[in-house]
Structure formats: structure tokens, C-alpha cells
Symmetry: C2
Subunit: 216 residues, 2 copies
DNA sequence: GTCTATACACCGATAGAC
DNA sequence: GTCTATCGGTGTATAGAC
């Protein structure tokens, strides 16, 4: 659905390269992937890659930007229904889990891009940062609104965002370690549902002010 | 305290190499570090490294094992005071934040080792997994005991552990992204304290059954 | 737009002198 | 235990034919 070419099955070489490189970068990181491996899997010569991307770094950047872009779009789409802050957070949690489930490479890719600093040039990093900031700002607004209206406890907004990013991105990037811990694959249907429930539970119990606590 | 030389300032070559390699692997990952760079910073020739470690992989493993080992030890030490499950979790949170603050490379190193699967051989990975399992088992026991005694809500234990690992390891590995989000360095004193408070808050509000709920 | 051929630096690892 | 020299291989990237 949705991704590369609009109406037919044909995919541009550029997209094919991106699709091929994405899981490789996700698994092995920027330094861990050789262009030979990418070219081989795409089915073309190494040199041909340079016709579509000026350098390995730019290929990596293109992969990242595509992911951040759609991530941002899907969150924005869900934000357009305007609901209360808690419902908004619940909705986003559902969207994020859905997206990461649909694209099992993305969590690792996002995780890398968030904590591996240097690999990308300043300008490219800045463009990605803009998108990321937009995502953060949205969550931040929801939290702020919720705190103002006393639906959400007065938690630290940045620390809560860090926690929520960790609860989603880190969890779905945790690979074998996560599988072992859960005793079942992270991306199995029951565990996807379990993670979503866990997120909803977090929102309701760690963030929401309990009815019992609210002032008379 | 165990590690390299006990009473004097001299450090074995082996330890010096480990100390040098640790931040490099933390920042750039296994594939992103060249032995030339390591050797240069240690102040010896590339080849000399092979006198102390049979291969690059084994050097990496040695770095990881050292970290996991001390991590495990410090948690065990703190476990020896026997307290209630909630107090135990609070204590561990304090210990973990303290350790990660003391060793700013560790979070990134641990994060990589948790989600980058392939780089290490089976046997070495198995040895690390044993240590990690011990850590997980301890937390798991505390949660289980707390749930049994009704001090802790009946949360999913594996998912809660994933969340807590993310709240610590991911947070302290988040580098520039985390700094930007907090508006202040993650490892600054106020933000260290803030993260610890956030963790305590999580334990008290997301995990603990509220006093109001507990049976007489 | 893809290919072959090639440039040049660096990689991890080994051999052997000191 | 550290060094120099060197091995074979791979890395990104370029040149130029088709």
C-alpha cells in the first residue's frame, strides 16, 4: 500500500535501491553496509548506484528521510481528529505501533539515527531534525494541554517524551533480546497487541491523573 | 575494587586498550571503528593490538564483557540489602543512573549490544546473554514479588522490563537528540537528577498500587 | 542508465626482527 | 611486548565505453 509507484507495480531504480538499502542499514548501520552488498541485492553493478545517489552518505540520508517523512505524516494525519490529550496520546500510540509493525526495519533505523550522531553531514541532519522536532512538538503540546486541564499529572514533558520514544522505538528495535525477553517474537500478533496495551496502560496510569486524586 | 591495578596508577596494556576502545565502539559501533584508530589513541602500532587480543571481534567482546560484568555486580550488590520490591526497584534505579552517569560510554555500548545482533560469535554472545539474563531475572523477581504482595499492579513483567531498560539505557544513549530535547546535557547534574526522579515517579505511579487502592 | 576497469586508501591479520 | 613490513581483500568513488 501507498509506498513506491502509485498505480502500477513498476518501481523506479531509485526506489528499488532505497528499498534494498533500508533493511541493510537497519541491521548493520551505516558503517556496516558495503555498497557492493547493496548493488548485489538490487541486481546492478556497484558503480550504477552512483548514478542515483552521489555518495553512500546521501543514500543513507535518503533512506532516513523517507522514513521520517512518512512517520511524521501518519502522526499528523491522526492529529487532525481533535480529541482530548489523553485520547490523542492513545491514538498516536496505536498509529506508531501500527507503523512499526508494518515496517519492521524502521525501529532499528530510527533508533540508530537518534543515537548515532556523527555519520550524517550538518545540513542533512538539520533537515531530519526539523521533522523530528515537529513530532516532538506535537506530543509536547498534547502533554502540556493535558497538564493544563488537569487530565495529566504534572510530569516532566521532555523526560516523558524520552520515555515514550524508548517504549516504542527501543522496544521494536530490540531484536533477539526482545524476543527472548517476551518468549515470543516482538512482531508476532499477540506481542504487538501486548505492547499496545502496555502503552495504553502507561498513559492511563503513569500520565493520567487518577479520578481519586482529582481535587474536589 | 577488582578491576585493573589495585593500589597504584599503572595500568596494564590490555586495560589501556580496553579503555581506549570502549568510547570508540560506543560512538561508532563495531564496524565503524578501525584498529588503526584504536592503536593510534593507545599509542602503539596496529599490530601490537594482536598481541593482546586475537582479533577485532575479541577486543569488542572484551569491552562488552567488562561492562556487563560490572553492571551485574553493582546491581547484585544493591540487591543484597533485602527490602520490599518497590524499595528494591528504587534502589536499582539509583544505582543504574549512577553507573551510567559515571561511565557515559556505557549506555550507547549497552544499547548497541542489545539491538545489534550479528556481530559477535555465538559462544561469546551466549556468555553475555547469561549476564544479561541474570539482571533480567532479578528485576523480574522483584516485580513478581511486588505483584504477589499487591504492592505492584499486575503489569506484564517482560514489557515492564523492556520499558525500564528503555527508560535508562536508551535515555542515556540518546546523545545530541536527548540534549536537544531536554535543553541541557543529559549528563549534566540537574538532568541526571531529573531522570532519576522521573524513574522514581514511574515506579510510584505506573507500577505501585496506590495507597488508596491497597487493602487494609 | 548500466556496464567494465581502475584508482587509491584502508581494512584486519600475519611474519619476523629486535 | 612492540616494532616494521607486508599480505590479500574490500572500501568508496571516478572515468569512460556502450
Amino acid at each position: 500500500m501507498a509506498s513506491p509507484a502509485s498505480t502500477d507495480a513498476s518501481t523506479s531504480s531509485r526506489d528499488k535501491i532505497l528499498d534494498t538499502a533500508e533493511p541493510l542499514f537497519a541491521r548493520s548501520g551505516f558503517a556496516g553496509v558495503g555498497l557492493r552488498e547493496v548493488a548485489e541485492q538490487v541486481g546492478m553493478g556497484k558503480s550504477s548506484l552512483f548514478h542515483h545517489f552521489p555518495s553512500k552518505v546521501q543514500l543513507y540520508v535518503a533512506v532516513l528521510e523517507r522514513v521520517f517523512h512518512e512517520f511524521d505524516q501518519r502522526l499528523e494525519l491522526r492529529a487532525s481528529q481533535d480529541e482530548g490529550p489523553l485520547a490523542q496520546l492513545h491514538g498516536w500510540a496505536t498509529v506508531v505501533v501500527g507503523m512499526l509493525a508494518e515496517h519492521p526495519n524502521w525501529a532499528a533505523l530510527l533508533l540508530r539515527s537518534l543515537f548515532e550522531g556523527d555519520v550524517i553531514g550538518r545540513e542533512d541532519q538539520a533537515r531530519i531534525d526539523v521533522i523530528f522536532s515537529r513530532i516532538v512538538a506535537r506530543i509536547s503540546s498534547a502533554l502540556q494541554a493535558g497538564i493544563a486541564s488537569n487530565e495529566i499529572r504534572p510530569v516532566s514533558i521532555p523526560h516523558t517524551i524520552q520515555t515514550m520514544v524508548g517504549m516504542t522505538v527501543f522496544h521494536f528495535a530490540s531484536g533477539d533480546m526482545g524476543d527472548d525477553l517476551l518468549g515470543e517474537p516482538i512482531y508476532s500478533q499477540p506481542q504487538l497487541q501486548a505492547r499496545l496495551s502496555h502503552l495504553h496502560d502507561y498513559i492511563d496510569h503513569a500520565l493520567a491523573t487518577r479520578p481519586l486524586d482529582s481535587p474536589t
